[in-house]
Amino acid sequence: MSPHQRFVEHLSADALDATDRAHAAECPECRPLLPREAPSTAPASLEAIHARSVEALRSAPVRPWRRDALLLAGVNAVVAVGATAALGEARWRVSTDARPRLLLVGALLFGTLTLGGMAALAPRRRHSLLYLVLALLLPVGLVFAGDGVMSPLSTMQALPCALNVVVIALLPLGAALLLLRRMAFDGRRAAALALASGATGLFALHWHCMDGTALHLLGFHALPWLSLAAVAVGLRRLLPTESHVP
């Protein structure tokens, strides 16, 4: 290993020793790379930037992120319950044997749609990662809750299920995108919030849809839900950012 390579290796590992420093002192290529604090610069424009920021401070009240997360959870819950009431709970009424499974997966869906805001908006990013991992297991739960009995509806008639997932999620997704604009773009957070919004439609269909086959549940419930989340992440990337806070 040449002295140059050794210097770069140690520099990149925060492990510069006396030999490296001695080499850098002699070597015109490595000397400029030695860590050195740049002194502060104070351009006149800082005054104006400070004045505008203070003005914004006076006019912008503090918005705790937990309040936004609760607001989003409330919107999602109202939309999910409202859509369930509107579509009707035919599956719940008919599938008396499968009710414990339906209740269990229903509770998971409700957790997904209400906790997503908390996970995505929390300052620590690892919450959104944990949420994403758990949420992506949800299709397994959907299949688990299904009774495997095919509805008399044909594939074409099952398309309304996919459409319902999208239409029911529009309002929560709009609210989620508004909140996402208030922070720097982060694909993981955006995906978590979009999955939570999309889960409103999944929740309503969970109690309503009579087709319990895995193919239908994955193809017309889970797939539109995941696709919607992917589109929402792309949409958020295109939208301008109001605040660059992570």
Binding site: H4, D14, H50, S53, L57, T241, S243, V245, P246
Partner: protein
Amino acid sequence: MERFVHGEESAFSELFARHAPRLHGALRRIVGPAAADDVLQSTFLSIVRARGRYEPGAPFRPWLYAVGINAARDHLRRHRHEELQPPEDLPERVAEPEPLADPGLSRVVERALAQLPDSQREAILLHRFEGFSFREIGDLLGVSETAVKVRAHRGYERLRVLLAAHRGEP
């Protein structure tokens, strides 16, 4: 920071006076002198408007730099195509630049830095000029410490090659 979150102006002014000049210097190296003011403004407006996202007890400086880096990336993404000049507009010979405020910061190094990919440049700037540890840089960029070390290592290696090539020029 807690007082600033609750809207106390004097606390904000104190934070601004302590951190703005150095952050301005860092942003100048990322987005260039012409855009540094705008990006700094955007950074401070962001922390004022979204101060409710600050995690109590967390160190302020890495958080502020994370916001600054995000603002700089957003600026570069939106303006990159505008900043690329057609070849015919480029001067044949670059005039000798004015001396920098920092005499230790070689113009040659700055030019070499500008040729690095954004991710490598950010890692080196935060490490070399701002004194952040690799772990802090990882936290504020949202990547692992190892990833930052890899970026910094590649960046330093490339920088050394660029500086060596510059020395070899007539």
